[in-house]
Each structure stands twice: as structure tokens, then as C-alpha cells.
């Protein structure tokens, strides 16, 4: 009984998760990539991608989602996002003379590759926000498991 409870939720929740997870990831990627044309951007798209993995965590349990993206991989992706923003800033400083100068060509409006370095910046923010929120949820899941098992052992002693 206890093992079933720890390995996730019911069959209904798992089926709905299987159906919906692809749409969530694609819509998150759309919001990030088209952030400079339509409303959206790196922050909401990143949170949406983090929510997709949090849904997997809630439905299937921590072991399954850690086999997809482990905590170490997520934290490395998080650091890569931060580093990309820093490198963009220093390239702008080297080329244009100001930190975070928009050094790429502007292109024609309403095209996917327009707006210079904004698309790279959005992708970096997506990595940063999505992976860090996902890692926070994983850490809280670990902590909660330890706390609840601790409470259960205390109750068993009583």
C-alpha cells in the first residue's frame, strides 16, 4: 500500500498526464521562441516547462522524473542559462561599448529571427527560470518525504 502511494497517483491521472505533457512542452517552447513577436517571453515559457515536469513529478513520483532530468542535470542547465546571459552581456560590451548591447542584426519585423539577440536571451531565461523552479520543487519533494517519514516513524513509536 505504502509503495503504491509513493510511486504516484491513480491510473486516470497518469493517462491524462501522458496526453497533456506534449502540448504543455510545445506551448511553452512556442511562448519562449515567439516572445518578441506575440505576448510571452522567457519567464512564462520557462515556468510552463517547469510545470510540465512538476506534473510528471506529481503523477508518477520523484523516481520517474529524476530519470528524465536529474537534479544535477537541472542545476547544470540552470548555470548554463546564467552563463549565457553573462557572455551575451560581455560580447555586447566588447562590440558595442555597453553591457548587454544588442549586437546581432535586427532583421525584418514579424519574422522569427528578427530582434537581434532577444531570442537567445529568452532561451537563456527559459533555462534559468524553468530549471531553477523545477529544482526547487524536487528539493521540496525530497524534504517533504523525509519530514513525512519522520512523522510516521514517530507515530509508530507512540
Amino acid at each position: 500500500m505504502k509503495k503504491e502511494k509513493q510511486s504516484g497517483m491513480t491510473f486516470i491521472v497518469k493517462t491524462i498526464t501522458n496526453l497533456i505533457i506534449g502540448f504543455m512542452l510545445v506551448f511553452g517552447a512556442y511562448i519562449v521562441l515567439y516572445g518578441h513577436i506575440t505576448p510571452g517571453g522567457g519567464f512564462p515559457g520557462g515556468v510552463m516547462i517547469a510545470l510540465a515536469y512538476i506534473l510528471v513529478t506529481l503523477a508518477y513520483g520523484r523516481r520517474v522524473v529524476e530519470s528524465m532530468i536529474s537534479g544535477v542535470t537541472g542545476s547544470i542547465a540552470d548555470d548554463i542559462g546564467a552563463l549565457v546571459i553573462l557572455i551575451l552581456g560581455f560580447i555586447g560590451l566588447y562590440i558595442g561599448g555597453t553591457f548587454l548591447f544588442n549586437f546581432l542584426p535586427k532583421g525584418t519585423p514579424f519574422k522569427l529571427f528578427s530582434a537581434g539577440y532577444i531570442i537567445i536571451y529568452n532561451l537563456a531565461i527559459m533555462l534559468k527560470v524553468g530549471m531553477s523552479l523545477y529544482i526547487v520543487f524536487l528539493a521540496l519533494a525530497i524534504l517533504q518525504r523525509v519530514v513525512t517519514t519522520r512523522d510516521e516513524t514517530k507515530e509508530d513509536k507512540k
Binding site: P39, G40, M48, A82, G116, I125, V129, V136, Q144, V146
Partner: protein, 187 residues
């Protein structure tokens, strides 16, 4: 229907939700009603014509609801007991709110009226944003090009907070506690 009337309706709904959040005894119901307040706020942003911030508000509200429900659902749902000295706390809070309201009345006199914002900086962004940046979403062109350094700082705030969370929730220090180690071996 007038937009201002709709905004007033949403504002009244949000105030009622906030009161329910504070006054209700069950913790889970309080979390649900604060979620209602957040979703109403995102609707208010939509009526004000800010789809960017409405999307962000909806998604962050979902995430915080998941975290809050996960934090409260396994805990015993007992409200905080009322203590005897709460009369003094209420009086102090009322006096401070009154002082803040009096000063806010004078402060709001000097602001621009609702619906007629000051367009000194915004005019420059709206006129030159498409030529200088090339992005058709002007919010993105402001936060990622004109004000890119602010966004950089916000991303780094998240980075520092994650580092702090991992410093507190780290595993290698927990290994020294025999209590935690025994539980980890059991499962």
C-alpha cells in the same frame, strides 16, 4: 459594459477573497481562496490590456498554488489559535493602516489620473522601439533591450535564491544526522 466598472467588480471580488483567506479556519480553503484572488488579478491585467503580465500571473499563480497545496495538504489543518493579546495587535495594525492611508491620500493626489499615464519615456520607446530593436512585442523590447540590465539582475536574484535553498536543503550535511540517515536506509 464599461471597463472601469468591470475592474471595480474584480477589485471587490479580490478584496472579498483576501478577507476569506485571512478569516477562514481551514488552511486548504485559505490557499484555494488566495488562488482565486490571484486568478482575478490576472483577469484584471487582461482588462487593462496587458496580456504579457496576465500570462505570467496565471502561470506563476498555478505554480504557487501547487507548492502551497503540497505544503498544506499533508500538514494537520488546524488554524492558529487566538491569543489574549490579539486586541493590542489589532489596534496597532489599525493605527498603522490609518497613518498609511492618510499619507497615501496625499501621495495619490500628485499622480496622473487613471487612464492617462505620463508618456514621456514611453513615447520614446513606442516611436523608436521597432527601428532600434526590431521586436514587434514592445514589452519584450523594453525588458530585454532597453532595460536588459534589470532583467539580468532579476535572473541573478533567482540564481542566488536557488543557491541559498540548496545550501539549506543540502544532503551532505544531513548525512551527519543519524536520525535522517536511518530513515533514508529504511526506504
Amino acid at each position: 459594459m464599461d471597463v472601469v466598472f468591470l475592474l471595480h467588480l474584480l477589485l471587490v471580488f479580490m478584496i472579498i477573497g483576501a478577507f476569506i483567506t485571512v478569516e477562514i479556519k481551514n488552511m486548504l480553503s485559505a490557499v484555494i481562496s488566495i488562488g482565486a484572488v490571484g486568478f482575478t488579478l490576472s483577469m484584471a491585467f487582461l482588462f487593462l490590456g496587458a496580456p504579457d503580465i496576465a500570462i505570467t500571473q496565471v502561470i506563476v499563480e498555478i505554480l504557487s498554488l501547487i507548492l502551497l497545496i503540497r505544503a498544506t495538504v499533508n500538514v494537520d489543518n488546524v488554524a492558529i489559535e487566538e491569543k489574549g493579546e490579539s486586541v493590542f495587535h489589532n489596534r496597532t495594525a489599525l493605527i498603522f493602516v490609518g497613518i498609511i492611508l492618510v499619507f497615501a491620500w496625499f501621495a495619490f493626489q500628485s499622480l496622473a489620473p487613471f487612464g492617462e499615464p505620463l508618456m514621456r519615456v514611453s513615447d520614446y520607446y513606442l516611436n523608436n522601439g521597432l527601428i532600434m530593436v526590431g521586436a514587434t512585442n514592445f514589452v519584450t523590447s523594453v525588458i530585454l533591450d532597453f532595460r536588459a540590465y534589470d532583467t539580468f539582475g532579476e535572473a541573478m536574484v533567482l540564481f542566488v535564491s536557488i543557491s541559498g535553498a540548496f545550501a539549506i536543503l543540502r544532503r551532505w550535511k544531513r548525512e551527519q544526522h543519524k536520525d535522517f540517515l536511518r530513515i533514508d536506509r529504511e526506504h
